[in-house]
């Protein structure tokens, strides 16, 4: 049974029809890479999965929590779906540890002590145990992004959404973040990520989705799809980005 199921999903921004009937099944443990040109609807699709964008029409179900035509319990959905953003979006007035502790205490009603244990465990997982008391502006971009990952993981989501999480980073900081994502993937975390790191998508992903004009234009096993694109649009796209061995 699929963990995330999307069927016939449509989304408009005003008169702009951005998602034109998306069907998608993500199984437990899948690592899905969303690729496509700018404006093809990758971010919008990702953001509908945790209700940051409303849905006009269609079905969305994550681990039994469903939205029908955009209606349903958003907060229940969000407790199952974690998200990491391009711009990190850490809470600047809280330390790294407090950033991670906030949702478990406030949303799940966990005690301070339990939340602290979880925060320590999650920061350790992303290699930042010693930064518990640092404020975001005392951390590098790569460190901030890793705290953001820890913050999302602390809610024990069923699936983690990542929207170009290395795009705002200096090149030398990209790998430390990718390494964390790779680790999560090997531990069996279900991931859906929008990425421009084609090589990463191919090596870590087990499902590749190429979006084009608001539709899933082509999808399949990353190695096969990259090596043997079935549509000229994807061939064109793959040709325009380097998938270096």
């Amino acid at each position: 049974m699929s963990l995330v199921k999307i069927a016939g999903l449509h989304k408009h921004f005003g008169s702009n029809h951005v998602l034109k009937g998306i069907d998608l099944d993500v199984a437990q443990g899948d690592v899905v890479a969303l690729i496509g040109r700018s404006g093809s609807g990758k971010s919008t699709l990702l953001r509908t999965i945790n209700g940051l964008e409303t849905i006009d029409k269609g079905e969305l179900r994550v681990d039994g929590t469903a939205l029908h035509d955009g209606k349903g319990d958003l907060r229940a959905l969000r407790q199952k779906v974690g998200m990491v953003f391009q711009q990190f979006n850490l809470f600047p007035h809280l330390t790294a540890g407090q950033n991670v502790m906030l949702a478990p205490t406030v949303v799940k009603g966990m005690s301070k002590r339990d939340a602290e244990d979880i925060a320590k465990e999650m920061l350790l997982k992303v290699g930042l145990a010693e930064k518990f008391d640092s404020f975001p502006d005392q951390l590098s971009g790569g460190q901030q992004q890793r705290v953001a990952i820890a913050r999302a993981l602390a809610m024990q989501p069923k699936v983690l959404l990542c929207d170009e999480i290395t795009s705002a980073l200096d090149p030398e900081l990209v790998n430390e973040v990718l390494a964390v994502v790779r680790q999560l993937a090997t531990e069996g975390m279900t991931l859906i990520m929008v990425t421009h790191e084609m090589r990463f998508a191919r090596d870590v992903g087990n499902k590749l989705i190429f979006m084009h004009h608001g539709r899933i234009h082509e999808s399949g096993d990353p190695r096969t799809v990259f090596a043997n694109p079935q549509t000229p649009e994807l061939a064109n796209f793959v040709g325009s980005v380097t998938v270096a061995a």
């Binding site: 945790n50 209700g51 940051l52 907060r75 969000r78 407790q79 779906v81 974690g82 998200m83 953003f85 711009q87 979006n89 850490l90 809470f91 600047p92 007035h93 906030l102 949702a103 406030v106 949303v107 502006d137 953001a148 913050r151 999302a152 809610m155």
Partner: protein
Amino acid sequence: MFVQFSTWDIVRNLLEGGKWTLALSLIAFILGGGVGLAILFARIARNRLLQAFAKTYIEVFQGTPLLMQLFIVFFGLSLVGVDVSPWLAAALGLTLFTSAYLAEIWRGCVEAVPKGQWEASSSLALSYAQQMRHVILPQALRIAVAPTVGFSVQVVKGTAVTSIIGFAELTKTGSMLANATFQPFLVFGLVAAGYFALCYPLSLYAKSLERKFHVAR
């Protein structure tokens, strides 16, 4: 009638008036802050009706001169049979005025918190109230400190208007003294100096806060 006023007499009387200016400023600022906070919450609430009420409130008090607001409070209330002293009318009028401006300043501060903060806290399943309480307001507060202190200068200067309804604060005391002493230049010079002594430190403080929070970001 021809009492001789020494310069010290003038200063002493002005200090007495200045005390009331200070008291009125404090009251207006504290009560106005409280009411302003309530208006702010209405303004940023999800309820359309509350929003509309707060918006109208702010627009009315920002869109009319403080003097008219005082007249309406002072004469309007006595018209309907409520006897208000100049002191009460002044405090009430300035509180309304201050609350509208502070609510609007603070709304700007809430809106200055980046959209990503809303999104990140939404994605963590926080409710609207939880987002406000734990993520948005703490950040808005830091942004608000400098402009709020800056606005307090406007409140101090605004108290001068209450002299017209006969409240004996610094300006009113000054005009009475000017009439009695025939030394308007000296008296109003001292009055101005009094306002400056109250306002200048506040301005400086606001500027230093602005610098401090600017660096802190």
